[in-house]
């Protein structure tokens, strides 16, 4: 028991604990000795396993991201090459997922199409989180007039049906990848603002924040060093769920022909093509693959977000 020696050393060298009443000192020592089996802090964290499903979900998201990143290095057919000798071909060795009504390789199209969904989904939420999250943190902590106005503004934006607004703006402004990203990031700002603000507000008057103030910490320091670490779990898990939402909205826009211009593949575009010209009856694979990929991706992202929240949420019971 090396810890006992250290304890004894503390007693002797400091002389602080010497005149303690033995009976009362025993209480803390009991607690200490129970915890002291290992003093390595990380071993003490009770690690609830994340579960097989979490790793499966993470694996799926990882696979999609990896394929999207290294698509150019893979031996894939050109996603826009129309092979008229293999129209509406079923899955085969040459075309693993088959081809569409113009003879384009569906595997290639689905992989290249994932780039649009992933970029729009993650970039829009990142931008939205930086702006909405920062505003939410500050307004939740500071309160006052700024909070009132920002909150009212967020409510107005939330009350407006986002998809209608996005369609209207896209129709007038145009629909390149970066414009879609900007528009969707603006659309998620009020959502993320509300969630982060609520979380920030719940910590703003906690004792440890007041304690930090009495130690002379400035507001900026309190917001970013005391409150932010507590808000992150909620923000990350909600952010992930928002990513899933944004991917769906991008798909919706693409389905309506309002996302990236054809023939650039995106999941929404491919789904849309699979539904037109009677393709659904002739070749359901066109729609099946992107729908399946998107469905599993959204499920995985939601599951990851949820599990992360469970894992990192500091509950009162633990305090």
């Amino acid at each position: 028991m090396p810890d006992d020696r250290e304890l004894a050393g503390t007693h002797a060298s400091e002389g602080l604990l010497v005149d303690w009443v033995p009976g009362t000192a025993a209480v803390d020592e009991l607690v200490v000795s129970r915890q002291s089996e290992s003093l390595d802090s990380d071993d003490l964290l009770v690690k609830k396993p994340l579960g097989f499903l979490f790793w499966l979900a993470l694996g799926w998201v990882g696979l999609i991201v990896l394929l999207a990143v290294i698509a150019d290095l893979l031996p894939l057919a050109n996603p826009n090459f129309q092979n008229y000798s293999a129209i509406n071909a079923g899955p085969s060795v040459h075309h693993l997922l088959g081809t569409d009504d113009l003879g384009r390789d569906l595997l290639s199209r689905v992989i290249y199409g994932s780039r649009v969904s992933l970029i729009v989904g993650f970039a829009a939420v990142t931008i939205g989180m930086v702006i909405g999250g920062t505003l939410g943190l500050i307004s939740g902590y500071k309160g006052g007039r700024m909070d009132t106005w920002l909150n009212a503004g967020a409510f107005v934006l939330l009350a407006f049906p986002a998809i209608v607004a996005v369609i209207a703006i896209v129709a007038f402004w145009g629909h390149s990848l970066y414009k879609i990203t900007i528009i969707l990031s603006v659309a998620v700002i009020p959502l993320l603002y509300r969630v982060v603000r609520a979380s920030s507000l719940s910590f703003a008057n906690r004792d440890f924040v007041v304690a930090a103030r009495t130690m002379g910490a400035s507001s900026t320091r309190i917001v970013f060093r005391e409150i932010l670490p507590n808000v992150i779990p909620a923000a990350v898990s909600f952010g992930l769920i928002t990513v899933a939402g944004v991917i769906v909205v991008e798909g919706t826009l693409a389905f309506l022909g309002l996302s990236v211009a054809l023939p650039t593949p995106s999941w929404g575009n491919i789904i849309s093509e699979g539904a037109t010209n009677g393709n659904l009856q002739v070749n359901p694979y066109i729609m099946l693959w992107p729908v399946l990929a998107m469905f599993l991706l959204l499920l995985s992202i939601n599951l990851i977000g949820d599990r992360l929240r469970q894992r990192f949420d500091v509950r009162e019971g633990l305090l």
């Binding site: 400091e14 002379g216 500091v314």
Partner: protein, 389 residues
């Protein structure tokens, strides 16, 4: 510690007078402090004209029931009040500076460095997602001009001095891994990190197990002597301050009702409220089944405090005069014993009303624990007005 002091001087724009060495000015001098909260129901006069002073290295106990204004008083002295709907008047003079006149960024140089606070509940006063070592080093690095490694070494030293075993490993722990007593030790380490001159301890042991309470208070006392810092100990428990405070202030309804050196307060209680507080301390020696003493009634509504003496509605010795005219804080006999009562207790017996028809007759009811003693009004001079402290 002297090294810390030197480093601290090197940073910040405020200069702090070395009180207590050059001249006899008290470290903290509060004069006529009022703290009112505006609410939709009316103005709550939580602190209503409090004056007190604390010398360097001294311990002042502030005692009172819940709602007597003691916590608001301590926060008001610090300047730690909500920005809106609060009226604060009076002066708080601390180490050569007027705290009430300070801007927020000036106040931040005082907080933590010269004046810090220990919180009631160590469960909530530590940030749950930050390692405890980090929580200490952050405030160290905020006020002292030291690098990360030096701050960590100082934090380990601090943890050792507050009796945390194996501090080298414990700095990497999170609050939830520690027991309540250990967490309060961490809180004390944080509060004392920058060697402040005055520490406000707002019910520092209320959230703790009784067995740990004594340890924490002893630790605080020891560190206080070692570092020669002043402590304001706010508590509802007279037992807690009895052996640890040099002077005790008893608050009721936002005002000081009795103030005396600890020994005097206990041996020669003048104010029936203080007496009632003492009687409410449960005694282990009492046979089981004995009813505990409680003060009848509740603290008054602070929006409409009662006319006359604020304790009158609950006082067992109340007289007509008490209900009409508010007694001033005055002295009798010794100059450092202040009380606000028209008919102060002497040896547990209320003095006879001097301006009343039935003079000399002890009012009813008889106090619960009558102590036979010399005739009342010998040491009392009811007309002596309050002397400025």
């Amino acid at each position: 510690m002297t090294a810390l002091h030197r480093a601290k001087r090197g940073r910040g724009t405020l200069e702090f007078a070395d009180i207590g060495q050059a001249h006899d000015e008290p470290l903290l001098k509060v004069e006529d402090l009022h703290t009112w909260f505006r609410t939709s129901r009316g103005t709550v006069k939580a602190v209503d004209g409090v004056s007190l002073s604390v010398d360097r290295g001294q311990t002042l106990g502030i005692v009172g029931e819940s709602g007597s204004g003691k916590t608001v008083l301590s926060r008001s002295i610090m300047g730690l009040l909500p920005a809106q709907d609060v009226v604060r008047s009076g002066t708080v003079h601390f180490a050569g500076h007027e705290l009430t006149a300070m801007k927020p960024d000036e106040l931040r140089q005082v907080w933590g460095a010269e004046l810090s606070m220990i919180f009631q509940d160590p469960m909530t006063a530590l940030n749950p997602v930050k390692r405890i070592g980090r929580q200490v080093t952050e405030s160290l690095r905020l006020h002292l001009d030291i690098d990360r490694a030096e701050a960590t070494a100082t934090a380990i030293e601090l943890f050792r001095s507050v009796g945390i075993p194996s501090p080298e490993q414990r700095v990497r722990w999170y609050p939830f891994q520690l027991s309540g007593g250990m967490r309060q030790r961490v809180m004390i380490a944080i509060a004392l990190a920058c060697a402040p001159r005055l520490v406000m301890a707002d019910e520092p042991t209320t959230g703790l197990d009784v067995t740990v309470q004594a340890q924490i208070l002893d630790l605080l006392g020891e560190l206080q002597r070692e570092r020669h810092m002043a402590v304001i100990l706010v508590t509802h428990d007279l037992g807690v301050v009895a052996s640890r405070a040099d002077e005790i202030v008893v608050m009721y309804a936002g005002r000081i009702v009795e103030q005396a050196p600890t020994r005097t307060l206990f041996s020669d209680t003048h104010m029936p409220y203080t007496r009632a507080l003492m009687d409410s301390i449960p005694r282990l020696a009492d046979p089981s089944g004995v009813r505990l003493h409680a003060i009848a009634g509740r603290p008054p509504d602070m929006i409409h405090p009662p006319k006359g003496c604020r304790f009158a509605p609950r006082c067992p010795y109340v007289q007509d005069k008490c209900r009409e005219i508010e007694p001033p804080l005055r002295t009798a006999g010794s100059a450092d014993h202040l009380f606000a009562c028209w008919f102060p207790l002497v040896n547990g017996v209320p003095t006879a009303p001097t301006d009343h028809a039935g003079a000399g007759v002890p009012p009813t009811p008889v106090p619960s624990t009558p102590v036979p003693g010399p005739a009342a009004d010998t040491a009392i001079n009811p007309d002596a007005e309050i002397q400025s402290p």
